[in-house]
């Protein structure tokens, strides 16, 4: 179509320009890729969000950027080697990763760790919970813009990590649990240092509560955001503090006894009736406080005795299957160990809490604003190593 008259040409051009503007102003359907490199996702999680203005229409998490092939690796590693590797799944509370695996292997071998080993295991288990969740307390503030609580969290978490290092040798990867007990006993003076550190962790919890949780801006950002009702939470397989914050009274430490000594302690499970982000933060804060009290009781009641049961030097686990699930800092972590009587497990299936925790992301993100996406992700608290293994 040729347009010879300049005026007509100008008219057609302006019509075309108008059409372009109208198309560009169509706001529904902007796809925002909160890509693998993003400060808000704890690692390399990719969330593809479709926005309408500032509201989310659809959100889809795409995990797998950190897949390291744990379950396949476990098929070609002996049991002590698997214990070492498994530390790295949830790297913030890493002792807690070893425990269900060792308990499953102990169940297959029909061996029970002596009492002192069980108590020390429980102490380190709770210590890993404190290390993990105290980071969350600071980190959620950072996602929301408060840059100071993170430093307080790291400062006080250092003390817990130093304690773990003085007992096990590794701050982040203890590699301390063994089939039949633990590797080594506690060094002299550890109990006293531990009590001191627990006192400081309680001070830190109070400080965080005043600085962050009591802050009205924080409350207005978190209350009512990302409400997950109890039945939806259960149907999506949430676990841990996310489930307890929706009002479901569910804690594997109390309900499913395994090789840890929670039944001999006096403690309570914290739940919250709302299911919003504030409730998840609140429940985790109370959990840290409760853990410090539990560790104090454990330290007082530590029995004397050996730390290792009679176990052969080369460990060959008899054939069979065992599934043990424990209440890890992030949720319910379970190992399904299938053994054919070899030095190596035949198959290890790792049920990680964060994988199920983020399955609720498409459901909970409908209709929220972009800043609330960050709030909800921060409050669901996942770790990429836990999702992707």
């Amino acid at each position: 179509m040729t347009v010879v008259d300049p005026q007509q040409r100008a008219y057609v051009a302006s019509q075309a320009a108008d059409a372009r503007v109208n198309v560009e102003l169509e706001t529904g359907g902007m796809t925002l890729n909160m890509g693998p490199q993003h400060p808000a996702t704890h690692g390399t999680l990719r969330i593809v969000v479709r926005l309408d203005g500032e509201q989310v229409v659809e959100a889809e998490p795409i995990a797998g950027y950190m897949h390291r092939g744990y379950e396949k690796l476990c098929e070609v590693r002996t049991y002590p080697q698997v214990t070492t590797l498994v530390n790295r799944i949830d790297w913030l509370g890493s002792f807690a990763n070893e425990v269900p695996f060792i308990l499953a292997a102990e169940r297959l071998m029909e061996v029970e760790a002596p009492p002192r080993a069980q108590w020390i295991r429980t102490i380190l288990f709770e210590m890993s919970r404190i290390a993990n969740i105290s980071l969350f307390l600071g980190d959620m503030g950072a996602q929301l813009g408060a840059i100071t609580p993170v430093f307080f969290a790291f400062r006080d978490r250092e003390r817990a990590l130093n304690l773990i290092e003085s007992a096990t040798g590794g701050r982040f990867h203890p590699n301390f649990d063994r089939i039949g007990g633990i590797k080594d006993d506690l060094p002299a003076g550890w109990v006293e240092d531990c009590k001191d550190v627990m006192g400081r962790m309680r001070d830190f919890c109070d400080q965080i509560e005043t600085l962050l949780m009591g802050n009205e801006i924080f409350a207005s950002r978190c209350r009512g955001v990302g409400v997950i009702p109890a039945d939806v939470a259960l149907s999506y397989g949430l676990s841990g503090a996310n489930l307890r914050a929706s009002g479901v009274d569910w804690d594997l430490r109390r309900d499913v006894p395994c090789g840890l000594v929670f039944d001999q302690l006096d403690w309570k499970v914290w739940t919250h009736p709302d299911g919003d982000s504030f409730a998840r933060y609140w429940v985790r804060l109370q959990e840290v406080r409760e853990s410090t009290k539990m560790i104090d009781q454990l330290l007082d009641g530590l029995p004397a005795g050996p730390i290792m049961a009679k176990v052969p030097r080369i460990i060959k686990v008899p054939a069979g299957e065992a599934y043990v699930e424990t209440e890890n800092p992030l949720g319910a972590m379970g190992y399904y160990v299938v053994s054919k009587g070899d030095l190596v497990p035949f198959r290890v299936k790792i049920r990680t809490p964060s994988f199920n925790n983020i399955s609720i992301v498409p459901w909970v993100m409908k209709g929220v604003y972009v800043p609330d996406v960050i709030t909800i992700l921060a409050s669901l608290y996942f770790i990429l190593g836990d999702i992707d293994r």
């Binding site: 590693r77 002996t78 002590p80 080697q81 070492t84 590797l85 002192r116 100071t148 307080f152 400062r155 250092e158 130093n162 290092e165 003085s166 007992a167 096990t168 040798g169 590794g170 990867h173 590699n175 590797k183 080594d184 006993d185 506690l186 060094p187 002299a188 003076g189 550890w190 109990v191 400080q207 005043t210 600085l211 962050l212 009591g214 802050n215 009205e216 801006i217 409350a219 207005s220 530590l302 029995p303 004397a304 005795g305 050996p306 730390i307």
Partner: protein, 162 residues
């Protein structure tokens, strides 16, 4: 309108923290001491090693390289047969691969490997992170004595062979 108390108390927390002394340790001018059990580097006592290869086998990363040979040692008494002994030719640990898991130290039946809390051995070239027998032997000087155990323990601390 948000009530003020929470906002004001938060300001108080940061103000008080500002006035308190700092926790920062200014490395490298001031160095913190890691705990004696800290897993910094592995030291080798060559005299105790018999090249049994257990550590190389159990290492999850296969970062220990051992070469040895057998030789005939003179008999212990007159008239006896010569004894076959292992001699260690090469014992390298590649710290670029090492996971610091400690399985090798634990599994050694002859008390030849020890943990040392030394951690300042960074290099400019990755190939320099392969510590050979002599260097591993030098780390023995930095191995601390085993600590006493907490009350209630049935274990006695072992001695580090010097």
């Amino acid at each position: 309108m948000p009530q003020l108390p929470g906002l004001v108390k938060g300001l108080g927390v940061t103000f008080r923290t500002m006035l308190k002394p700092n926790v920062t340790v200014q490395y490298p001018h001031v160095k913190e001491e890691p705990t004696p059990r800290a897993r910094g580097v592995i030291a080798l006592k060559e005299e105790n090693c018999t090249a049994c290869m257990l550590c190389a086998r159990e290492c999850p990363d296969w970062c220990i390289y051992i070469e040895g040979h057998k030789y005939l040692a003179p008999p212990r008494r007159e008239g006896g047969s010569p004894r076959q002994k292992n001699a260690l030719d090469r014992f390298d640990i590649d710290y670029a691969l090492c996971m610091y898991c400690g399985i090798c130290v634990e599994v050694c039946p002859f008390e030849a490997l020890f943990w040392s809390p030394e951690f300042e051995y960074g290099e400019h070239r990755i190939a320099d992170l392969l510590h050979d027998k002599e260097r591993l032997g030098e780390w023995m000087k930095t191995v601390p004595d085993f600590e006493a155990y907490e009350a209630g323990s049935e274990m006695k601390p072992k001695k580090v062979p010097r």
